[in-house]
Amino acid sequence: MKVVLENVTKIFPPRNKREKEFMAVNDFTFTVPDGKLIGLLGPSGCGKSTTLYMISGLQKVSGGKIYFGDNDVTNLPAESRGVGLVFQNYALYPHLTVKQNILFPLQNLKGSEKLSKKEMLERAYQAAKLVQLEELMERKPNALSGGQQQRVAIARALVKMPGVLLLDEPLSNLDARLRLQTREEIRRIQKETGITTIFVTHDQEEAMSISDMIVVMRDGVIQQVGKPQDVYDNPTNLFVAKFLGTPPINVFNGEVKGGKLYIGEECVLEVAGVADQPVTVGIRPEGFIPAEDGAMTCNLTNLEIMGRDASVVATHPASCNPTIRSIIDGDCKIDTASATVRYNLKPHKVFLFSKENEKRIEVAAQNNDDFLTAALKLKYSKS
């Protein structure tokens, strides 16, 4: 079932006279395609959870429409929407066993949907099998680990076969190892069931790794929608560029003069077709190639070798952050005794943003250029 959000808005009234009303979600329009896994991504307080709760019906919309398939559910209470919701801290009923917890939504069914005891048990065991919980059916939630509780919560949400599955920060209460495991688990379950799934997270890595599509939000407004890789490769503004990627993107103050990009005094890249102006430059950590005669000179602080690759920590006077972090191949030789390190840049890892509105400035042909030829060109143009 597809989920359509049309100009959905949520305004929280002021709690007292001194406060102003708060616009949590502003004109949210987005269609979740049927059977896809969508990640709602954004920093804390950006309205992503509110959006999720509006889809579930636990929060009423202040404006706009929500459709499940072709049905308008905007004014339908949560009870009648038939969504499955997994809460951040799972909200498993502590006095019921795993089995009773999973059975609970089924026992609520009335009228023609009512199931016999045997059917209910069958369905419950089916759901338990899907999340691999059959062994633990008689346990109480507090006798389970965090990951197991999480799976019970998912089973409870899935057992009534909802058209939409909503997950609120599903991994935030798990430790790092379990997080990796569980996110793959969520992906597997979603693929097996084919249920349209929307999950909320502030962890970009989590969203990127399992989503079919991500929606990046900020202050209640959608910033960008797309496949994770596309959003990462083509951020529409500085916020999205900064938000996606670990380690985060390096940001510099730069200037475009005569089709060339300057950071500090150095000309680092050719940027054809961009008008002369001061710009904010974002360079992904993997966008640096160490080279003895590189175009960009940074002051070397530290080299962290992490096995497969190495992370170079450096500083640059034009950097907006205290340090610059670049990820380079572990085989690259960096002279740690040297005070400076020089880089060439991969053009498709360098983004320009307007100083005025932080919007992306497109660089013509930049993405088509092989970075090596670009680097070579630069070398010749210099000499």
């Binding site: 579930s56 019906g57 636990l58 209470p77 949560a78 009870e79 009648s80 929407r81 038939g82 969504v83 499955g84 919701l85 809460f87 801290n89 909200a91 009923y93 502590p94 006095h95 019921l96 609970f104 939504p105 026992q107 609520n108 069914l109 109480k140 507090n142 409870r156 009534k160």
Partner: protein
């Protein structure tokens, strides 16, 4: 730890409380047990230098006392009637209070008022509410001048005025008044405890129930009540203990004679019996107190046993 170095300091600080407890709680308990087993113990006789035999005569005396069965029956009846009613009502009221936002604080205060008001005083107000004023009430040429507010209400709806507590009133009427009064008086504490419990229940359980399409009744019986079960157990146990000690409420309404003038001591209770015996039959009073203690002990254990079977977390 600092405390383990100078344990005498801790004892020093505790000593005022310990001394008071020893004098006013521990010693009386020991003394009660001692008096209960001294046959025919009497404080005046002690002053006269009399010695008493050790034995069970006091207990036999209690059981053989003609009003003992009445006392026991009234005590148990009041407990069995009022505790479930007041617990259920308190549960419903606290759930309602928890659900509303405006006036909650005001209503909370109103519901809490009986707790801070003297039970004798409230008893007198209740007596006035259920009272009838007139001549020969319950007698032959009955003439009612004014009935209490309760009867006024009954008459307003076209009913017959009922003789609740006056001369010639029936035992059922008397008991009804007592049950209403005790339930009303027991509500505030129970509401306080249950409301506190409700406010500590994670709201997400209710959100989860809502998303799963749970009806209100089912949410109440399958989620609220189980989650509140520790508090419910607590108010039921304290309710039974309080109920077995029922005395001042009856005195508040019916006066010292614990019954309508036509049937004095009809509503006598165990504590009433103990109090009256304290004047000159301390041995028998002590024995009755020990019997009451035994009953409360057994009932509390039973309560705990049942609630342990039903509380799961």
């Amino acid at each position: 730890m600092v405390g383990s170095k100078k344990p005498w300091k801790a004892w020093l600080y505790l000593s005022p409380a310990i001394v008071l407890l020893l004098i006013f709680t521990v010693w009386p308990i020991i003394n009660t047990v001692r008096m209960a087993f001294l046959e025919g113990y009497n404080a005046l006789a002690v002053a006269g230098g009399k010695k008493f035999e050790f034995g069970f005569a006091n207990f036999v005396n209690v059981i053989e006392y003609r009003d003992f069965v009445t006392c026991l029956k009234n005590t148990v009846l009041l407990c069995v009637l009022t505790v479930p009613i007041s617990t259920f009502l308190a549960l419903v009221i606290s759930v309602c209070l928890n659900a509303i936002k405006p006036f909650r604080r005001m209503l909370q205060t109103i519901f809490f008022l009986p707790y801070v008001t003297n039970s004798i005083a409230i008893g007198m107000v209740f007596a006035a509410m259920f009272n009838m004023v007139g001549r020969n009430i319950g007698g032959k040429n009955e003439l009612i001048l004014t009935a209490g507010i309760i009867n006024n209400v009954i008459e307003f709806f076209g009913g017959q005025a009922i003789n609740w507590i006056n001369k010639g009133s029936s035992e059922v009427a008397n008991m009804t008044v007592m049950v209403i009064y005790i339930v009303w008086n027991a509500l505030p504490f129970k509401i306080l405890v249950l409301l506190g419990g409700l406010q500590s229940v994670n709201k997400q359980y209710y959100d989860a129930a809502k998303v799963d399409g749970t009806s209100r009744l089912r949410t109440f019986t399958r989620i609220t009540v189980p989650l509140l079960s520790p508090m419910i157990t607590y108010v039921v146990i304290t309710g039974f203990i309080g109920g077995f000690k029922e005395y001042s409420s009856i005195v508040g309404i019916f006066g010292e004679k614990m019954g309508p003038t036509s049937n004095p001591y009809r509503l006598d209770t165990m504590v009433g019996f103990i109090y009256r015996d304290l004047a000159n039959q301390q041995g028998r009073a002590s024995a009755a107190a020990l019997i009451l203690f035994g009953i409360i002990f057994v009932v509390t254990m039973l309560n705990l046993y049942i609630s342990k079977k039903n509380t799961h977390y």
